[in-house]
């Protein structure tokens, strides 16, 4: 091998605390190193040109760049050496910036450390071999999981982009949280009026197959070739016959089931359509509330249904979908404030959460748009909003800001003034976060034009005195204790990953953060990709966000999937496990540890069994490599010899004495 080593100064980022000339000089003393040079900015065009020139002029067959983190520029340099005719896997990086120059000011120690890291990189490179990517066919179909506004946007964009789409929604209608909102900030326009047409588009688009009341059961396969099992939960109504006339709902004698669409502010029938604009507009029976399904009596709906759509025997159905890409858009759930006992939610009838209030404000909601005290139905005189319930609260394990609640509260305060012109409206807040277009102005209008009183301080307790709900807190700006006798208290609850998000992450083999939000590929540069190729994220499932951001991310995820599936064939990452069939004893330990099902046992012509890796399925984690006792299976680019070369290179030198 003929190795070139390029030591980057990164301006002064590296050069200030590492003697790069000494590092280059020590590299010249390493085996197979034919050329070593310091570069001002290795990643810049002149830097890359110098690397390419050295490869061409000096006939280098391997390159080490000592510069920043490979997470930053490994691909940059791989492309650079590839342009000069080298296999991109005959390239290694030594991270002498993030791991060396930026973390210590001791120039002598840094220089020594950088030189050793270069030596480890050179020793590893000597064990590298060129790897070839292989190509495979893709399914030109995508799946969107979750039919909230982000999922709807993604599905529509994908469908418009020419792909066919399977949209899977857990509830019996798409629309998600946005469908429950009365108005949206900061324009205070009608939520249903802007979402409704999009929902109709989904229903009518020829490229979209909608699976409502359905869930993802399992996912196998890999980018371009996912195979997804979808469980269509039994609705007990044949949707091909149901016309959405609503007659069943009128006649259903069971009326005590919780109305989940209305956030349990009301009860509803056992059979029904959740809201008038539902898509699909089809009836579903709640098997827990239905008298026929629980007690075997009744069956009124079946009698009244004009199309005979009721089917009490219906069972779950499994559907197999073959797709090339998956967009996860599972949204969020609101925080259950019952966890904050001091706020009395669930105990005091006049303490409700912000989503319940949203339903109360809605003309199609349980109070037909009248703001009332749930305890007695009277109009409230004093309405108190409490912010950051379940957000920014370490004691609840939720240090994060939910992002949308400040604005939602401002909007609800403004709407309260419209509904109850004389009401006293007080908002307890910690900080106001209104950074987007028109947001700050909206909050100021709420304060100034709508007379909403903003008190900076946390509420310590809420309790009932007579028919009043007393809110005790502090106004930290005035430095005074406050006690407000409220008629209605609205807790601005934060969000959390929707129920089942972790289970879905496991099925999709994507990771989630400590709270359960799905992890994007890179917080800045790959915000809608995940680390599992072919799986993209949209909306609040990746992190809480408001409607415009969710819609933007829906479109972005769709664009990423469209780019991916615009190609007829995909290239697989060649950093995969490889079996040496001569060594393999066929014990199958690799098969049992592989998280991706990428390894199988096949019979040889001698009748023995050996392991075989399905390259496109293998993600390159290397779990199999460790489980294999005679090391017949090796993870390319991270083989035992490559890692041992690094270990040996770093261990070889004896300690540095004082």
């Amino acid at each position: 091998m003929k190795i070139g080593v390029f030591v980057c100064l990164c301006g002064s980022n590296i050069a200030a605390t590492v003697d790069v000339e000494t590092v280059a000089e020590s590299a010249r003393g390493l085996p197979d190193v034919a050329y070593a040079k310091a570069e001002m900015y290795a990643c810049s065009e002149p830097g890359q040109a110098a690397i390419r020139a050295a490869i061409e002029e000096r006939g280098l067959t391997g390159v080490v760049v000592a510069s920043c983190s490979p997470r930053m520029h490994e691909n940059t340099f791989r492309r650079a050496v590839e342009r000069a005719g080298l296999n991109p896997y005959l390239f290694e990086m030594a991270n002498i910036r993030e791991h060396v120059s930026w973390v210590s000011l001791d120039k002598a120690a840094n220089t020594r450390k950088a030189s050793e890291l270069v030596r480890a990189a050179v020793e590893k490179l000597r064990c590298n071999r060129g790897l070839q990517r292989s190509r495979f066919d893709v399914h030109k179909r995508a799946m969107v999981v979750g039919g909230g506004v982000a999922g709807i946007q993604a599905a529509l964009d994908l469908a418009e982009g020419g792909l066919t789409v399977a949209l899977v929604e857990r509830e019996s209608s798409i629309g998600g949280k946005m469908a429950k909102l009365d108005k949206t900030f900061p324009t205070v326009d009608c939520s249903t009026c802007i979402l409704g047409p999009k929902m109709v588009d989904v229903a009518q688009h020829p490229n979209i197959t909608l699976y409502a009341h359905s869930e993802v059961e399992s996912v196998s396969g890999y980018v371009g070739n996912f195979s997804v099992k979808v469980r269509r939960r039994a609705t007990f109504v044949d949707w091909t016959k149901c016309t959405g006339c609503g007659l069943c709902m009128e006649k259903c004698p069971s009326r005590k089931g919780p109305d989940r669409f209305n956030e349990r502010l009301a009860t509803t029938t056992a059979i029904g359509i959740p809201f008038p604009q539902a898509i699909p507009k089809k009836a579903t029976i709640d098997p827990d509330a239905c008298l026929r399904l629980t007690k075997g009596k009744c069956g009124v709906c079946a009698k009244v249904c004009p199309t005979g759509a009721i089917d009490f025997e219906m069972a779950d159905e499994m559907i197999e979908e073959e797709v090339g890409a998956i967009v996860a858009a599972t949204g969020y759930d609101v925080f259950d404030p019952a966890a904050c006992a001091e706020y009395g939610a669930g105990r005091h009838p006049d303490v409700i959460n912000s989503l319940q209030y949203e339903r109360m404000l809605s003309a199609s909601g349980p109070t037909r748009g009248h703001v009332v005290r749930p305890s007695d139905g009277r109009e409230p005189g004093t309405v108190v909003f409490v912010q950051c319930v379940g957000s920014r609260d370490l004691s609840l394990g939720r240090p994060y800001c939910s992002g949308f609640c400040c604005m939602a509260t401002a909007k609800q305060a403004v709407l309260t003034r419209d509904h109850v012109p004389d009401a006293e409206i007080i908002v307890f807040y910690i900080d106001i976060r209104a950074p987007q277009k028109g947001y700050e102005e909206f909050v100021n209008r709420a304060r100034e034009e709508y007379g909403v009183r903003y008190c900076r301080g946390r509420v310590s307790s809420i309790y009932r005195v007579g028919d009043k709900t007393v809110v005790r807190g502090a106004d930290t700006l005035l430095g005074a204790q406050m006690e407000v006798e409220a008629d209605l208290v609205v807790l601005a609850v934060g969000g959390q990953p929707s129920e089942g998000a972790r289970a879905l992450a496991e099925k999709l083999r994507i990771s989630s953060d400590q709270y359960g939000f799905f992890m994007e590929g890179h917080p800045k540069l790959r915000p809608v990709e995940t680390n599992t190729a072919g799986v993209f994220l949209a909306g609040a499932c990746q992190g809480l966000k408001d409607i415009p951001s969710s819609v933007a991310q829906g479109s972005a995820a769709a664009a990423k999937a469209l780019v991916l599936l615009s190609r007829d064939k995909l290239e697989s990452d060649p950093q995969v496990a490889r079996v040496n069939p001569k060594r393999c004893i066929g014990c199958g330990k690799c098969v049992s540890v592989c998280p991706f099902g990428a390894i199988r046992l096949v019979e040889t012509r001698f009748g023995t069994q050996v392991a075989e890796v399905v390259e496109a399925v293998c993600q390159g984690c290397g779990v199999c490599n460790v489980a294999c006792m005679d090391k017949a299976i090796q993870l390319d680019h991270f083989t035992d010899d490559q890692i041992l070369a690094e270990v040996n290179a770093l261990c070889r030198e004896w300690r540095v004495a004082n």
Partner: protein
């Protein structure tokens, strides 16, 4: 060369073992047998460590002149051009240094050295490292007094008081050892330092040796053993059965005082490296593994056959002696209880048809190892 002269080395006191070893240690490395658990190994002599002359040293004295690991050469690549590019290589042969006294070897172990000499010190193909080790080693063996049940030195021309391979041969009597200087080198080590043995002492020593010889059961006649083995070469049924319990470890060969097989590997780290000779064993499958994948000795049976034939047919054909000193270490140490004596005593040529059958059997066997 052999000037038979007898000296006396007392157990204790000024003319005793400890004093003599200390004197010897001034000019050379002294290695003595030490008991560790159930094994007896040669260690650098320490006056505090009790010596163990009770029996055979477990792994034999071979390692003193044929180390398990021998560095043959070392190299270091050196940069000649200022900016990488051409390199020179500095090579340096490594050769053994320093004299060593191996005190308390068994006569069968010492005799093994003469059989190793036949292989490693042949005219024209002399092993330079082994030559140096041999020249620098002074072997002091101790006559066996009571044979082990695994001993069969008298089958292969040896004896409990065999002096071949030793520079000094010690025979223990009541209060010390009668030391026979077998070679000039041995003589030089004792002449100035030890008293001459009395006739009475010499007689006592001879009597004990005679008793030890007598204690060995009468040997079978092995004159036709090479012929019988050669005739049974293709009788794979026999070899399969003989090797049935074998787990192809290297205990027998590594403990054998006559086995000389080795492997050579290069080890490098950075720009420097070494060429290393290490013991190898014909019982290991990898021993005959060819780069192309073929293994001419694919089964335990093939490998055991090679070991037995090497010692009792091939070596005698070339050098006129069995390559076995009858020390029985392979029998004592075999974890599976295999006994080479059974093979050399019982093997008989079988008929031609049996042999043909066994050939097919061999092909079948080969697949499963």
């Amino acid at each position: 060369m052999a000037v038979t002269q007898r000296f006396f080395l007392a157990h204790e006191g000024p003319g005793g073992v400890a004093a003599w070893l200390s004197a010897m240690a001034e000019t050379m490395r002294v290695m003595t047998p030490v008991r560790e658990g159930i094994s007896v190994v040669f260690r650098d002599h320490s006056p505090e460590a009790p010596l163990d002359f009770g029996g055979l040293d477990t792994a034999g004295p071979k390692a003193a002149v044929f180390p398990q690991t021998e560095y043959l050469l070392r190299y270091r690549a050196e940069r000649t051009a200022p900016v990488g590019g051409h390199r020179g290589v500095k090579l340096e042969e490594v050769r053994p240094e320093g004299d060593v006294l191996l005190f308390g070897a068994s006569p069968c172990g010492a005799r093994g050295l003469t059989l190793m000499d036949q292989v490693l010190l042949r005219d024209g193909v002399e092993d330079p490292c082994y030559r140096i080790w041999r020249e620098h080693a002074l072997v002091a063996a101790i006559v066996c007094q009571a044979p082990y049940s695994s001993c069969f030195c008298n089958w292969v021309g040896g004896a409990p008081d065999d002096a071949r391979g030793s520079d000094l041969l010690l025979a223990e009597i009541e209060d010390g050892f009668v030391v026979e200087a077998v070679t000039d080198k041995g003589l030089a080590a004792v002449r100035e330092r030890l008293a001459v043995a009395t006739e009475e002492q010499a007689r006592a020593a001879a009597e004990r040796a005679e008793a030890a010889r007598a204690a060995l059961p009468a040997p079978p006649d092995l004159d036709d053993c090479p012929a019988r083995l050669n005739a049974a070469f293709d009788d794979m049924d026999f070899w399969n059965e003989a090797a049935a319990g074998c787990i192809h470890c290297g205990a027998c060969t590594y403990a054998c005082p006559t086995c000389t097989c080795f492997n050579i590997t290069d080890e490098a780290s950075g720009l420097a490296g070494e060429r290393i000779r290490t013991w190898d064993s014909c019982m290991f499958p990898n021993y005959t593994q060819e780069a192309g994948g073929h293994n001419p000795r694919p089964t335990r049976a093939h490998r055991l056959r090679n070991r037995v034939l090497h010692k009792f047919a091939f070596h005698p054909a070339r050098f006129g002696e069995f390559s076995c000193t009858g020390c029985g270490r392979c029998i004592r140490l075999c974890p599976m209880g295999l006994d080479i004596r059974t093979i050399i005593r019982t093997i008989e040529p079988r008929t031609a048809t049996q042999t043909t059958e066994s050939r097919t059997g061999r092909a079948k066997e080969a697949k499963h190892v």
